[in-house]
């Protein structure tokens, strides 16, 4: 991986991969304000805000793709509707209600390691379909409405949604059919035609009143559960264009992509444009080499030029990515035990985890012998260190060669990441959905209406250029 080859030990520490040397570490959230704010940021940015959220799986060998989407539903159920085009007839499954919340918690970035100073100064798919599919007698619904050029292939209920899978010959026929059958579609015929020409299928959905709680005023209450669409596809695509007309000027889109290779968007939309600038800027502090400095300069110039020509341009932001190993899946087997230092795995060369007791002993010798601190000062400093680096809050790492440490120190503190215990416990729900040996990549893009003229195509990152990203960096993406 280009990242690991060029990293210093801290950069390597920032992206530890591989099998667990010590097994998973335990977790109990303790008072780490920075780590806690990551949880609250995730709540807002990853769960509440995004206009579009999708979990995409891609099996290039079988050419099977899946999208899991969770429609946002606010207000009167009769106003709710979705039209989702796909390259082939999809199979629909209900997904866990809090699926995207679980993904957000799972992918909270780990805190950055800190120096310790002894003296004060510091798809295909997986998953467990819950229910859904065709309702009895649905075969009768497979009918060709010759007048409209619309054929209903399948009808059913998935979660709280009533759906039909249809094909269409003509955009105006489909448009009329949607209106007549009371499927809310805020788009235009041109967009429908875009997909009809590609011979795509349409899943149309509306709330099934029988599945929702009714309020006193007759409106329906509740969340629309996430739905997974699984279908054959020649490429990994996401139907962005159909959402164009329902977007006022831009939409915040959050993607989780699971595939054998790390996935990215193409061209200007690639997350490499922002991630590499953030990462290489970080590396400048560790001693980036000439090649890295040149790449940073080139990429920064690209961003500047792009924004000069297009002031509203926003880069795609990589937010988390890793090939899921044994330790990462162990989080789902025992979340409370394994969440805090997920993926600690194999430490960089010259790094070794140490117990608090060993650290305090060494600290005491250092303070008494080399620093010649007074006994009362040693005693009080030891108490401070004991409280500050308690095992329940993180891990102490000893570095044999401080020159190989970003912090240029002999000891580092790797804080646990935090989230409320009840929500961490629920991560077990992701079992079966996340797969060992697959890359999970999370990225976000503010997509302007003008950028929604086509669907998104996701392609693998070239081999050797994968970027693992699981720890907070002190730098920001452009």
């Amino acid at each position: 991986m280009i990242g690991t080859r060029s990293w210093t030990s801290l950069a390597a520490a920032a992206m530890i991969a591989g099998s667990a040397a010590l097994g998973a570490l335990s977790l109990r959230p303790a008072g780490n304000a920075e780590a806690a704010c990551c949880y609250f940021a995730a709540q807002e940015k990853d769960i509440n805000q995004p206009g579009q959220k999708a979990f995409i799986t891609w099996d290039p060998a079988a050419k099977i793709e899946s999208w899991t989407v969770q429609p946002k539903f606010e207000g009167n159920a009769v106003d709710f509707g979705m039209v989702i085009p796909s390259p082939s007839q999809p199979k629909l499954d209900e997904m866990p209600r809090d699926f995207f919340k679980d993904l957000a918690i799972y992918s909270i970035l780990m805190p950055l390691p800190e120096p310790i100073w002894l003296s004060p100064r510091v798809g295909v798919g997986g998953g467990s379909p819950q229910k859904g599919g065709m309702r009895p007698g649905a075969d009768e619904d497979k009918k060709h409405e010759a007048g409209r050029g619309v054929t209903v292939l399948e009808a059913g209920v998935v979660g709280s949604l009533d759906y039909k899978i249809i094909t269409a010959e003509r955009a105006e026929g489909l448009y009329g059919w949607l209106r007549e059958n009371q499927y809310v579609y805020s788009g235009d015929e041109g967009t429908l035609d875009f997909y009809i020409r590609k011979k795509w299928f349409f899943t149309v959905m509306k709330i099934d009143p029988r599945q929702m709680k009714k309020a006193a005023d007759g409106s329906y209450l509740g969340e629309v559960t996430p739905t997974r669409f699984t279908f054959a596809s020649d490429a990994c695509v996401y139907p962005l264009k159909i959402t164009q007309l329902s977007v006022k000027d831009k939409t915040d889109a959050l993607f989780y992509v699971q595939a054998p290779r790390q996935m990215d968007l193409q061209g200007d939309l690639s997350w490499m444009h922002s991630y590499r600038v953030m990462y290489l800027t970080f590396l400048l502090g560790c001693g980036a080499n000439a090649e890295q400095k040149q790449e940073l300069s080139t990429r920064q110039a690209w961003v500047v030029a792009k924004r000069r020509n297009d002031p509203g341009f926003e880069t795609t932001k990589l937010e988390w990515s890793r090939m899921l190993g044994e330790a990462d899946l162990a989080v789902l087997d025992d979340p409370l035990k394994n969440y805090a230092q997920m993926g600690m795995g194999t430490l960089p060369e010259g790094h070794a985890v140490t117990s608090l007791e060993d650290f305090l002993r060494t600290a005491r010798t250092e303070m008494e012998t080399n620093q010649r601190m007074k006994p009362e000062d040693v005693a009080s400093r030891l108490k401070v260190l004991e409280a500050q680096y308690a095992s329940s809050k993180g891990v102490i790492v000893k570095i044999s060669d401080p020159n190989r440490s970003f912090n240029r120190c002999e000891w580092e503190w790797w804080p646990h990441r935090e989230a409320p215990e009840a929500e961490v416990k629920d991560l077990a729900r992701l079992k079966g959905h996340l797969q060992q040996g697959q890359w999970l990549t999370k990225f976000r893009k503010i997509i302007r209406k003008s950028e929604m003229s086509d669907d998104l195509l996701l392609t693998p990152v070239p081999e050797g250029r994968e970027q693992e990203y699981i720890r907070i960096m002190p730098t920001s993406p452009p």
Partner: protein, 151 residues
């Protein structure tokens, strides 16, 4: 007068002898409790001497050392753990007991002592496995298990 001076002289000689004898008290004759208190001395040399004496007493010193694992003064706790670790397998039963039922504060040091004993502390492996489920002890217990079992 001559007799008085003779008695005073004998007294001074006896006093001098007592003083000399006090400076040459055999350390082994001092009670364990005395050396336990010496662990709290500020002078590192005094503490080192205390550790040496306590270790030399072996299993006999263990009951007095175990409570110190949960001392507020970390230097004392460390010293007690070092002593117990150096005493070796004779400490193991008491350390297991301290790990399972002792004050929470001292359990990390009990684990530390067991790790120091190494392979001779194999009997403690079940207790260490149980301790590894406690987030506050997991890292220490895991490292101790590796050391003791040789993995």
């Amino acid at each position: 007068m001559k007799r008085t001076r003779r008695i005073a002289g004998h007294f001074r000689l006896a006093l001098l002898g007592a003083v000399l004898a006090a400076g040459c008290i055999d350390p082994a004759s001092r009670p364990t409790s005395w050396w336990i208190e010496q662990l709290r001395e500020e002078d590192p040399d005094d503490r080192r001497a205390a550790r040496e004496q306590l270790v030399s007493r072996g299993a006999a010193a263990v009951p007095d050392l175990i409570p110190l694992l949960s001392a507020e003064d970390l230097v004392v706790a460390m010293s007690a753990a070092d002593c117990l670790g150096t005493i070796g397998p004779a400490s193991v039963p008491a350390l297991i007991d301290a790990l399972r039922t002792g004050p929470a504060r001292g359990r990390g040091w009990a684990i530390h002592a067991l790790k120091q004993i190494g392979a001779g502390a194999r009997d403690a492996l079940p207790a260490l496995q149980d301790a590894s489920r406690d987030p506050a002890l997991r890292m220490s217990a895991t490292l101790a298990i590796r050391e003791i079992s040789g993995n």
